[in-house]
Amino acid sequence: MSTKSQVRESWGTSYGQMVWREFFKSRLNTACMIFIIFLFAAAVLAPFLANDKPFVIRIGGQLHFPLFGDLQPNDYCVFLAAIVGFCQLLLVLRNHRRVEPSIRGRVFWRQVSINTVIMVTGIILIFIFVPRRLDATDYKSMVASGKATSAYFAPVPYGYARTDLKSREQPPGREHWLGTDDVGSDVLCRLIHGSRISLSVGFVAVGLSTVIGIIIGAILGYFGGKVDFLGMRVVEIMMAIPTFFLIITIVAFFPRSLFNIMIVIGITSWTEDARFIRAEFFRLRNQDFVQAAVSLGLPLRSILFRHMLPNGIAPVLVNATFGIAGAIFIEAALSFLGFGVAPPMPSWGQMLSLGVSTTGRFLWWLTLFPGMAIFFTVLTYNLVGEALRDAIDPRLRKAA
């Protein structure tokens, strides 16, 4: 044991650990992290938090578990993704304890790739084998009429697609904690389920843009010359287009779906990363050790990538964090303007748009709560991004 610890001592603190430590110095950052985790929990566990099916119910003597029976393939996908992601996190932590720094990077990438493979196959399998189910029975009324007993409902016992015209546009009350929207669905429930949309848009879109950005940047930076010239023109074009307008155009012209939104946001916001990575490559090219390595006959590719990753990735990550905030905002804006996901799928922006009814009556609860949801999510990601930037920036670290 002691030997191990000594070994680890000899490893010293890795860049990642330093950033980590630096990051968690601030209590605010910790708070943000907790909030994000909370958001994730809400998103992943949405069906368990807000659902009109009971966890367990006794009908005619025998127990049923409608809620679990009602889980859709996409729910399972979310769970899978969450689990895999969590494992990846644990693995990373473990790496820092077990794996010798020089090979850590490679190990990490291998783990990531394996996990992605697992995830993809898993999702495919889920969609093949888990049937779409539609549970028609209305358990509430059964309980009410006494047909069923000992039913345990989720804390928010409403479905996000349930409509109830009798109680539409109700202000917050005992029945509906955060009120109801224009067709009487529970706002809180829709908020919870909406977090899924926001987060998934945020992450997928940004993931996409980051990947595109890195690849393009790497290509430009690696080949340089003509390729670079042409590439940069394209990048310029992308930057010169009023992005939001472009997004609206695309989203408005093509069928309404979550994926479209993700993709559109993804393909319109990669320029930053691309330019950064390109610059990073050029910087590296001209560094002596690279020149030396090349002169020794090592392939430029491997060198560039090996050295680009550690130095180059961190800022890209920071960028991504801000990107997530941005993407969430854009999604909200789109839904607000009516280009969002198809109803009754809940989206914060779309809920926000209901805040001022056509009569000009101001349904404050339909404005305040979704708005706060968006605001705090965006704020948190921005804060985290800022904190990360500070953390990875040694100059600031010295100065602070």
Partner: protein, 322 residues
């Protein structure tokens, strides 16, 4: 610059034409009156009328040919020359944005500088938190809240909820008119301003902090300059440079943002125009907006570079490539 523009237009053109739906079926609506036997021909006729029957590249070529003569064609919705519509709308958006822009700089610079000078003092901490919040406030939310709380029947009714001037503003004398106009501008401008201002202030602060740590500032102090002189004459001058370049990125962002703001406050500006054009497949307008938006952006970038070159002796004009 020109190739960039071409690229933009081609891209938008392609998108708008590939997409399903077209102005003709829009203008013909779900039908109801038209006999099936004729409907198809009528449609063809209309297509020909709008010149939508040709293959897309040809259409683009034609369009381009007209645009170089600054003729964006007629709006398929308003049936008027697009250029006229733009002439009405662009100034509105520009005034909106320029006012916001000036405000942003006027507020952001002092706040940022002060925060940097009072680094880690109360003001700095307070302001940085506030700025952060402002920065992340979703504008549509703020707009919605303002309309709801400040100009709704439900709560206060202090501001007009929509438009740029109350009716018959044109019959008012100049000053009442101006007042009325300003009154209508308050909220939209506010919405446009706050986030950009927060962002900028943050940048200024960061820049100032860097520069206050720089060696030449130490030199300046060693010269025996007063604190104020050091801050404003030396540090500020340097940290202004990046701020100028932000201008280039801020302007396009605001034009994009004005889509939201204008549709919330129904301000008849470019943003709203773009929005309507997109939803009604008003191709000519869409193209025009895209082009002009692109041009504005490029101008923004160009201005940024020029300003940079002026502000920073290290950059010469040849340096700014566009």
């Amino acid at each position: 610059m020109i190739p960039t523009l071409l690229g933009i237009t081609i891209m938008v053109f392609a998108i708008s034409r590939i997409a399903p739906g077209d102005p003709v079926s829009l203008s013909m609506g779900p039908g109801g009156q038209l006999d099936a036997a004729r409907a198809a021909d009528v449609r063809k006729a209309r297509m020909a009328l709008y010149g939508l029957d040709k293959p897309i590249p040809v259409q683009y070529a034609k369009w381009l040919g007209r645009v170089v003569r600054l003729d964006f064609g007629d709006s398929l919705k308003h049936h008027r020359p697009v250029i006229d519509i733009i002439k009405e709308r662009l100034p509105i958006t520009l005034t909106l944005n320029l006012i916001a822009f000036v405000l942003i700089y006027v507020i952001a610079l002092p706040v940022g500088v002060l925060a940097a000078v009072k680094h880690k003092k109360l003001f700095d901490r307070f302001s940085s938190v506030i700025l952060f919040m402002l920065w992340s406030l979703p504008s549509m939310w703020v707009g919605q809240m303002m309309i709801g709380y400040l100009c709704g029947p439900t709560f206060e009714n202090w501001f007009p909820p929509a438009g740029l001037s109350s009716n018959y503003a044109d019959q008012l004398a100049f000053f009442p008119w101006l007042w009325d106009r300003l009154w209508h501008l308050v909220l939209p401008v506010l919405c446009l301003t706050y986030s950009g201002f927060a962002y900028l202030a943050k940048q200024v602060r960061a820049g100032m902090l860097d520069n206050l740590r720089a060696d030449y500032v130490r030199t300046a102090r060693a010269k025996g300059l007063s604190n104020a002189a050091v801050v404003f004459h030396h540090a500020f001058r340097n940290s202004v440079i990046p701020v100028i370049t932000i201008m280039a990125t801020l302007l396009p962002a605001m034009l994009g943002g004005s889509v939201i703001i204008e549709s919330i406050f129904s301000v008849p500006g470019m943003g709203l125009l773009a929005f309507e054009a997109v939803t009604t497949r008003d191709y000519n307008v869409v193209m025009a907006v895209a082009t002009i938006g692109g041009v504005l952006n490029l101008i923004g970038l160009l201005l940024g570079d020029i300003a940079y070159a002026i502000a920073d002796p290290r950059i010469s004009f040849e340096g700014s490539e566009l």
